[in-house]
Every structure is written in structure tokens, then in C-alpha cells.
Subunit: 465 residues, 2 copies
């Protein structure tokens, strides 16, 4: 046994003898090195291998923990679930299943009244007059040519010059990530995600049996120091919302994007760039795909956020080899995607009213953002940053209040919130809430929030007495 | 080491020392037992465990083989591919991507001219006048209520009485299988499939890293003896087209269905019943779900075959626990399915013209079946059975000709065939072709087939000289 294996052996023994329980923290790398009289780099490598084996995991800025306790595989029914109030799947189901009179400042999409329903109506009528092949046949494996050409043109806004052959259509961005994970990863692989990040990224990582390392999200992009350190764990892939970040609303700066792209390139980490909020950008945001190209980056998006979530249509932009492999994978898992949806989306996007409507949405989002910030300020709920665009506002509760407890009370009063812990692997976001400013117009939301804050505050003071 | 482990050790040694190469056949259970002086049951258990480990595999009626040579993982790019002419994915891509003047007797769907395009047109117009929630919002997690109620009523044709809460909508039958595999199976699990079966079942099994045991399909259903023997390998699941079988066109008898259901129940094997050709049944076929109920059976289907393949919409019928878990899995992998598609399908299905159109399709399929049988008979191509319904005709070539070679020549002349080997894990179907009688009207198909047969016959005789 060499020194790395010795170190691994010591930790394995501690875990199997229950000296170290599931969910408990390991001693720091430096301390372990001094305890065993090994070098720091030996211990780093040993910890990295144990992460690779799935025995321990790294939590951003918080050290290493024994796997098991807080991990929940959505496909394994016998494991301990999240608390309901912060369980990503439960929040998604509640949002999707909510009665129409439920207020949903925590949901991730626009209210119906903001959506371009007339463009969809018109598109349906146009499509109803098209040929039988469009109406009844399977789509080509790669998907609607005109729509792929439209996407290629659209990407020029962000200085990306791609060809339609580098695009494959899917049914959603979520499905795109699922396909890309299937293509590029094996169970046990290590990936990087932002902390906080879109909560479904955690669910997808668990579903594919991956180990995810959370990189703290700063106000100008991911923390470069943490990203560099995480490369020791040989991650295969970095999954991120790069343009407008979910849930924080932060926009990546060109400087940070350049550093991250270089680091990813040097360590052969594929960047998977979920560009789903691109339509909300006021000014073009830097894109990893534009910087580092499609050998380093896979980009994906959809039309759910500004056109329609009822017409499922997404896309993946990748190099030709990957597009080719993704076509095979798509045939295997869904045979074909919905050609009719692609046609409806194409007709709606090429309708001149749609472009105007997107401008209308952007302007309204800015106004709603300002108004929401003011109304939350009255409750002493403070935004982490003032976003440059988009619909998300990442806010800290006053008095270190627990967002899950607040969410529970609000839900009882018909207001569905998105508590921070469901977005954060490191669990450092428990005092945060994500607000969707487009869903924050109703006065009742603020009344219910005030009530919940009051109740939690008095409970806290009661407990302290 | 006990005797079972000894037996496993012997075989492992033979494989690692290359005495037994990948793809080569192991000696029979009886012979191995006599060679090692162990009991037959010891060797059966050893072989079963090695199948479980993925080292060897069982091929229906043909014994045990060392894994590796002929297996292709669609997601592993470094493995040896199928020959192009029998590669399921390649055939699917060709069929989906075929130029409009390509003749496709090998493809799995109806020609456009057979599809109820007017029902789709009408549905699109109706839907264009519905509310904004239908046009732009995410669907409820379980899917369109009216459509689920329609499906529940429809199943009464096959004596199945289910409630809408036992149905979850998906985007296709293929996706339904993918979801069910994710829910019920782990990598390395053993499943049973028919031999031959729909070629995508092989692709899906490989994608999920499963070991599949092929059960020979007889004229009245799966071979009960092989099914019984296969239970020794502790399969978790049996995936089948039960109503009208693809590719053979065989219809399960009630007697065989009863035996298989009892066997599955006794060994706790979940039957996954892909009911995708139900609309083509002239008389109701027996269904495993009707016999053994939803604790033993998961049933799935779609509307691609008789309504539209451009509107992707499928469903899964399962017990409430499984429906609940599938909802979580659906949110994780695709967030929501297409509510607009479900609405279009619902409007089209409830249009009275649609029911008449399905009757028209059935009658036309019967006529096309008779005509195709006659025209193929002139070429000495003989059906394995005369199907009781549906569009598939499973035919044997004359003179033991190789279907892959015939397919290659036909493709060069603009005719896409479906050679038997792509449907058959045991590779015993290399003299067979699957014809889709709805795509067999063009005289050119028979001219090109005659030419290919002539060429292959003369090559064969040249080689024999």
C-alpha cells in the first residue's frame, strides 16, 4: 500500500467502524496530513479518489462529508427524503399542480397573462393548413430545419456563429440535460454545479448517480478559486446557467467567463451551458460556447420561458460528433421528437408580433423587479444583488429566519415560495428565498409574508426565552 | 469455495485466459455438470450468477455465450457496431430521414395517406380557440385529465377497468419504457424480452445496462418452457408487445397469457406490456394488465400509430405508487409533458370522424395484408403466420438467403427493408424480413426484391461452385 492508499484505508475503516457516520464531516486535508504524517497532496489525492468512489463528497467551502445522510435519489424509494418544504421535486409538483387561485412567487415561469398566447393561436391556425407530413408523420431525427436555422441566427446576438447542423431539437431543456448526461457521463463521475443552482440540477445529478461538487456563485460568476480546487477531483463536466443565473439572477462577467473557460479547457472539463433565460437578457451576456467553442462546450435552451411551456420544444448545440451520438440516443429513448411542436414554435417565432412581445416581457420584468424590491424592502427582505435582467430575485430573510419555516406558513395561506435550501447543496442558503418578480404583483403575497415573518420571529424569541 | 463458486471460477478462468473468446458458446449445463462432477442445479445457479454479473448471456434455445462480441451499447462509442444493414439505430435513422421518394416496406408506421390528417387539422383549429393556460402553461404533472379519462374508457374494449388516476401521460411509448426502466431497474438487472421483438427494446436494454434473456416467440405467444427456465436467472421484468406482436404479427392466446401471468406472479416478475398496436386489433386481444392487474403489470401505449406521430403523446398505466414515483421521475427528466399535444390528441380522438377513420385503417390493413401475402408468394417469400390483424408480416426468404444482403441491395435501389437480425437477439432470424403491409403497395418493391433475390442466389451459387 502506498501512502495514498493508506490514507484511503484509514478513512474507509473509520466509516465502516461507524467512527465517522453518514453525513459527518471529515477532518480537513491539512489536519489529516499532519495526523498521518503524509504530505497535503497525498491527502488531496486520497480524498479525491474517495469522492470518485462515492464514499465521501465535497461541499463548497465546507469541507468533506461522508456520503449518505442528506443525499436522496429520486429513483430510490427507500432513502430518506428532503423535508417537504425544501424538496425540489415536491416544490415542482406543487407549482405544476397548484390550484389556479394559488399565488406562486416561488415558481420558475411567467404568469399566463404575460405569455404571447395570440402568437400561439395564430401559429396553430397556420399549422392546421400545412401538409399531412407535418401533421401526422415522425420528425426527422435531428428536428425541424427551419427552426434550427432560426436558432443559429438568434445566437448571433451573443456573438455565436453556428450552423444548423450543430443543433439537435429535443422536447425541453431538462430533457436536453438528461440526454447530455447520458452521452457524456457514467455513474460515479464527478461534475461541478453552482451553489446555489436550479434545483433540478441536483435531481438530475442524483438520477444519473453522479457526484456533484458545488462551486459558490459570486456576484460576477462562479468562484474561480473553488473551481480551480475542485479540478483535483477530476470532474468531467460543469453544468451552469451562464447568461442569467438561476436562482440568483447574477450575470457572468466576460472576465470570469474567460478564466472559467481556460480552466475547463486545461482540465478537459466539458461546460454544459443551460441558456434557458437568454431571451431575458437586456444586453448580450457572455457565453462559454462563444468563447471556448463547441469542442469544449455544449449549449442548450428552450422556448418554454417566453413563448409557451405547453409546446415542449428545446435544443442542444454541440459539435458534429456529439450531435450524431445524441441523435442515436434520442431515437433510443424517445424515437422522435414532436415535429408538430417544432412547427408551432417556428411559426410563432417567425411571427413579427412575437419579437415585440419579448420586448414587452423584458420591459415589464424590469418594472416588476423594481416594484418587488421595494415591496420586499418594507418587510426587511433584501436582495443579494440587483439583477441586470431576468425574473429572479435572490433575497435574504431578516433575523436569520429559516426560509423553509416561512414557506410552510405561506403555503398554508395559499402562497407558494421557493426556499433557498432547495437550490443549495451546501445548505448555506437556508435564510434565502427566490422570488419570481413576474409572479409578485398580488398584495396578498406581502401580507402573508409579513404574517409568516411575524410568527417565525415570535416562535424564535419564545424558544430563546 | 463451494461448488457453485468453483464452477464460476472455472468459467472465469477460461474467459480470462482466452480459452473462451467473446461471443463463443459455453458447453451445455449438462455437459459442464458431468465434466466437473457437480449437479445440474449447481451449474444452473453458477451460470445464472455469471449472467447476473454480465459475463455470459443466455440466447433463446441456443445456450450460453460469453458476452461482448455482438453487444453494442448505443452510448458507448468505442464498441464494435452492428453491421449497418442490421443495426436497429441505423435502420431507424434511415427510416426517419428517408427522402420522400424512398419506398419503406421496412418501416414501422403507416404512410401519410392513411393517417387522419383532417382530424388533426380540425383539432388544431379547436385548440387555437382555447384559453391561455392550455396554450402557454406547463401541464399538470400527471397530464390532461380528459385524455386520461378517454384512455380509461377505451381500455374497456379489452376488459380492463381502470381509473384516470392510474394513468400518467408521457411523450411517447418509447419514453414510457425508458421511464419505467429507470423506475424499476438497476444496471446489471436481468430482463426478459421476446425473440424476435421490436428492435428498440434491445437498444433500451443496452442503454440501461441490463442483461436481456430472449424468450422465443411462438405462434400463440412466448414459449412457456423457455420462460420458465429463464426464471432461474431472477429476472425483474418482462417487456413485450402483447396484443399484436412486433415484428411477427402473432396475437397472444388467452391460454398462454394465463400461463405467463401466473409464472410472472410466482417469480415476482413485473410484466411491461407495450400495447402500442391495440388500435389495430380486429377482436380484443388478451391483456396481461386485465388478467393479473396493475400490481403485476405496467401497461403503456401511444397515439403515434393511428392518429399522428407528429403529436408526441403516450401514456403509462400503473398502480398508484408507481404513478406517483413516475411523476417525480418525469419532472426530473423532462419537467412537464406537452399539454398542447395532449389537448390536440384529446380533441382529435373525441371527434367522431376519428373512430370511423380507425375502422377504415383496419379494413385497409386487412386488404393490404392479403395483397402483400400474394405478391410476396410470387417471389417465394413466405409468411411465418397469417396475422389476425395489424400491419406486420414476418416472412422467411427462399433458399436460406441472408436478409441483410438482400436489404443492402434493395437500399441501393431506393427500397428500405427491415431484416430479421435486427429484431432477434439469438441471431436466428437472419433469413427473415418484417414487412409493413401498409407500405407495400408499390410494384417497384417487388421488382427490386426479385432483383436482389436473383443477385444473392447467383452469388451463392457462384460461391458454391
Amino acid at each position: 500500500m502506498n501512502k495514498i492508499e493508506q490514507t484511503m484505508h484509514v478513512i474507509r475503516e473509520q466509516i465502516s467502524s461507524k467512527q465517522l457516520l453518514e453525513g459527518s464531516r471529515l477532518v480537513s486535508v491539512r489536519r489529516m496530513a499532519s495526523q498521518l504524517n503524509h504530505s497535503v497532496s497525498t491527502v488531496v489525492e486520497a480524498y479525491a479518489r474517495l469522492v470518485g468512489e462515492g464514499l465521501i463528497e465535497s461541499r463548497a467551502g465546507a469541507g468533506f462529508y461522508v456520503c449518505g445522510r442528506h443525499v436522496r435519489l429520486p429513483i430510490a424509494s427507500n432513502m430518506q427524503p428532503y423535508h417537504r418544504e425544501i424538496d425540489p421535486l415536491w416544490i415542482s409538483r406543487q407549482s405544476l399542480d397548484a390550484p389556479t387561485d394559488m399565488l406562486k412567487p416561488g415558481c420558475g415561469w411567467l404568469p399566463e397573462s404575460w405569455m404571447p398566447e395570440q402568437s400561439i393561436r395564430k401559429a396553430l391556425k397556420v399549422v392546421s393548413r400545412l401538409g399531412a407530413d407535418v401533421l401526422t408523420n415522425y420528425s426527422s431525427p435531428q428536428g425541424h430545419l427551419g427552426l434550427r436555422q432560426w436558432i443559429a441566427r438568434k445566437k448571433q446576438f451573443n456573438d455565436q456563429y453556428i450552423h444548423e447542423s450543430q443543433i439537435i431539437l429535443t422536447d425541453s431543456a431538462t430533457q436536453s440535460i438528461d440526454l447530455v448526461f447520458q452521452l457524456l457521463l457514467q455513474p460515479g463521475d464527478v461534475i461541478l454545479i453552482d451553489d446555489p443552482c436550479y434545483f433540478n440540477f441536483h435531481v438530475l445529478a442524483k438520477k444519473h448517480h453522479l457526484h456533484s461538487i458545488a462551486i459558490p456563485m459570486l456576484k460576477d460568476g462562479p468562484d474561480i478559486k473553488s473551481f480551480t480546487e475542485a479540478l483535483a477531483f477530476k470532474p468531467k463536466l460543469y453544468l451552469t446557467n451562464s447568461g442569467i443565473h438561476n436562482p440568483t439572477g447574477a450575470v457572468l462577467t466576460t472576465q470570469v467567463a474567460y478564466q472559467i473557460a481556460k480552466l475547463a479547457e486545461s482540465a478537459n472539463v466539458t461546460i454544459v451551458e443551460d441558456d434557458i433565460f437568454a431571451d431575458f437578457e437586456i444586453l448580450p451576456a457572455p457565453k462559454y460556447a462563444a468563447l471556448a467553442g463547441l469542442n469544449q462546450v455544449v449549449q442548450l435552451g428552450s422556448f418554454s420561458k417566453t413563448l409557451s411551456a405547453a409546446v415542449r420544444c428545446g435544443y442542444i448545440i454541440a459539435n458534429p460528433n456529439r450531435v450524431d451520438a445524441l441523435i442515436d440516443l434520442k431515437i433510443a429513448t424517445q424515437f422522435s421528437n414532436a415535429q408538430l411542436n417544432a412547427e408551432i414554435v417556428y411559426q410563432a417565432l417567425t411571427d413579427s408580433a412575437y419579437r415585440k412581445h419579448v420586448e414587452w416581457i423584458k420591459n415589464h420584468a424590469v418594472a416588476a423587479m423594481n416594484q418587488t424590491i421595494q415591496r420586499l424592502a418594507a418587510l426587511n427582505i433584501k436582495p443579494w444583488i440587483i439583477p441586470k435582467g431576468g425574473i429572479f430575485l435572490w433575497c435574504e430573510l431578516p433575523l436569520q429566519l429559516d426560509a423553509a419555516a416561512i414557506s410552510k406558513i405561506c403555503l398554508q395561506h395559499g402562497v407558494l415560495l421557493a426556499p433557498g435550501s432547495s437550490f443549495s447543496q451546501s445548505q448555506q442558503a437556508r435564510h434565502f428565498l427566490r422570488f419570481n418578480v413576474a409572479q409578485c404583483n398580488d398584495k396578498k403575497i406581502y401580507d402573508v409574508l409579513a404574517l409568516a415573518i411575524q410568527r417565525c420571529t415570535s416562535t424564535d424569541s419564545m424558544l430563546m426565552e
